[in-house]
């Protein structure tokens, strides 16, 4: 086989591989949208589910999802950004940073079902929080923590070193430098990471089903159980309760995830462009 011929074959294979991967993505989005969108009405979004989801809408699951995400972000953002600040502003590369990075990578690799088990035994049972927004929020925050740490670290690292020098020259303390120069300048990058982790959290099922529970009522207090959209979709689809409502729920899910990802991509681009 001549080099030219093998080049053609290899290129053909690679192009078809990339095409196949893209085709799968478009197939998933198209199927969910085509089957789901016709069933989405304002009433579907604003009515509570009735008869286990056979009728009615998904309002309470939207509320549960948002509530859950807000709680997990309130926990994960300070911890994640704080870790990133420590790694970039307070230490040089060494044993401690290596340990923290390895721990973060391991945490990112922990399967969601293990997080679900953990949240169930510690938060739901041992601490007595029950299936609740609090249990779900804490468990989910552990899942998104590595994402926030990684993106915040990148964002803070990209703040020009001259900012810190200027701060020093002007007699600012390190804390002043962080709060007045570094963080504001890294904020868009950090926000991108936060949005990305919201996208992760919206679709998560295994963690949420064992910690937030499956109640269809609207959760008010932190100790109320709820049912996220992803869990609702899973139960509708798996138990064959209502295919139309399952597709419609999936369409809302996939649409929000697409929106979130495109938004974060756009923000990141603007952030990078400004840096240059």
């Amino acid at each position: 086989m001549t080099p030219k011929r093998s080049e053609h074959i290899a290129l053909g294979l690679m192009v078809s591989g990339a095409f196949l991967a893209l085709a799968i993505l478009f197939f998933i989005i198209a199927v969910i949208m085509i089957k789901g969108l016709p069933h989405i009405t304002l009433r579907f979004l604003l009515d509570n589910p009735m008869d286990m989801g056979r009728a009615g809408g998904i309002f309470s699951t939207i509320v549960s999802t948002v509530y859950l995400l807000v709680v997990s972000l309130i926990i994960a953002i300070p911890l994640g950004v704080g870790t990133a600040i420590y790694l970039t502003e307070y230490t040089k590369e060494g044993l401690i940073t290596k340990i923290i990075r390895f721990g973060t990578e391991c945490l990112a690799g922990v399967p969601s079902i293990i997080l679900g088990l953990f949240g169930f035994i510690l938060l739901v049972i041992k601490l007595g929080f029950g299936w609740s927004v609090l249990s779900g929020g804490i468990s989910l925050s552990i899942m998104i923590l590595p994402v926030i740490i990684r993106t915040s670290e990148e964002a803070i690292k990209s703040v020009p070193a001259s900012y810190r020098d200027i701060n020093k020259v002007l007699g600012g303390t390190r804390w002043q430098g962080i709060t007045r120069l570094v963080l504001p300048s890294a904020a868009p990058g950090i926000l991108t990471g936060v949005i990305l982790s919201v996208g992760r959290g919206i679709g998560e099922t295994a963690v949420v089903i064992f910690t937030l529970g499956t109640s269809l009522r609207i959760p008010f207090s932190l100790f109320d159980s709820g049912r996220s959209m992803a869990v609702h979709f899973y139960l509708l689809a798996r138990e064959g309760i209502s295919m139309n409502n399952a597709y419609a729920t999936a369409a809302v899910l996939v649409f929000s995830i697409l929106f979130i990802n495109i938004l974060s991509y756009y923000l990141m681009h603007r952030f990078v462009a400004r840096r240059r």
């Binding site: 080099p3 030219k4 093998s6 080049e7 290899a10 290129l11 690679m14 591989g17 990339a18 991967a21 893209l22 799968i24 993505l25 998933i28 199927v31 911890l79 704080g82 600040i85 420590y86 790694l87 502003e89 307070y90 401690i96 340990i99 923290i100 390895f102 721990g103 990578e105 391991c106 945490l107 690799g109 922990v110 399967p111 079902i113 293990i114 679900g116 088990l117 953990f118 169930f120 035994i121 510690l122 552990i142 923590l145 804390w175 919206i202 679709g203 099922t205 295994a206 992803a230 979709f233 689809a237 798996r238 399952a246 999936a250 899910l253 996939v254 995830i257 697409l258 979130i260 990802n261």
Partner: protein
């Protein structure tokens, strides 16, 4: 003495940040602690050998053998690697070595979107579209090792692609220029020079992809059939470690529940082993 007050405050702030920085390690530690504390007593009672190597899982009758699930998880992970690995690497080779900048700027973020699709959606579409295909054309129940491997292969694509692309991009252009000037074609340069130089990163991407596959739960529950036996053909249904936990967690109590946590321990070991391998390979790249 104002300066010392400021210094003291700065010192305190640094301590607080150090404390926060250990939050991920701390989380990892208490997760492991509680999973082990709940699961180990059962392994102790049943015996490690019987727990790992017996295929009899009948928790209500006091039989706790997870060998079939270990084998199933192993095959599903290998299957996912067989489908997702080559496809993912083809995509990354194309993106880094062949595609124009404009094409890459479109394809890469699009493929990253695959990571955002919830696993329940993958599982559901697998059941609706892939399972009937496998059942009608290849036989068996359709809910099978093959179906699960294909879907998991798709799900690990973003992991494989993003990490191997980073590794390929990190290869200095001078390597490629040297190969071109020796008369190598683009493909020859790719497989003789670039892939070789990015080897450790590519292996890391595959290992982390396997880590994702072994830990995936919701999609596998929906498409693997969950049968309690060792799969002998790709068309046999199977139950993985993860699906065993998720399927029975809802109603398990007492020793049964402990057995599910013990299953979690085994899963935890698998994932940590894969992560450690990935970290070791990723380190090797940095040393060079």
């Amino acid at each position: 003495m104002a300066a010392t007050a400021i210094q003291r405050k700065e010192k305190l702030i640094e301590r607080i940040f150090l404390l926060i920085a250990f939050s991920s390690i701390f989380s990892l530690f208490i997760i492991a602690l509680f999973i082990f504390a709940e699961g180990l007593p059962l392994i102790w009672k049943v015996g490690l050998k019987d727990f790992l190597l017996s295929t009899r899982w009948a928790p209500t009758k006091g039989h706790f053998g997870i060998f079939a699930m270990i084998v199933s998880s192993f095959w599903v992970t290998i299957g996912a690697l067989l489908f997702g690995g080559p496809l993912g690497l083809m995509c990354s080779f194309f993106l880094v070595e062949f595609a124009s900048d404009r094409l890459r700027a479109f394809i890469k973020p699009a493929l990253e979107l695959l990571a955002g699709i919830p696993s329940v959606v993958y599982g559901f579409l697998g059941v609706v579209y892939l399972v009937p295909l496998v059942r009608d054309y290849l036989g068996g129940p359709g809910l099978s090792l093959l179906t699960a491997s294909i879907i998991l292969g798709i799900m690990i694509l973003p992991t494989v692609i993003s990490i191997s692309v980073d590794a390929l991009v990190a290869v200095p252009d001078s390597y490629r220029e040297a190969a071109f000037s020796l008369g190598a074609t683009r493909w020859q340069t790719t497989y003789m020079v670039t892939v070789h130089a990015a080897r450790s990163g590519i292996i890391t991407s595959l290992v982390l992809g396997m880590g994702r596959a072994v830990g995936e739960t919701m999609a596998v529950i929906m498409i693997a059939g969950n049968a309690l036996k060792i799969p002998l053909s790709p068309l046999d249904p199977l139950r993985t470690l993860t699906s065993n936990i998720a399927l029975e967690m809802g109603y398990a109590s007492g020793m049964h529940r402990q057995a599910l946590f013990a299953t979690g321990i085994v899963l935890f070991f698998f994932v940590m082993a894969l992560n450690t391998i990935a970290t070791v390979y990723a380190r090797r790249k940095r040393i060079k």
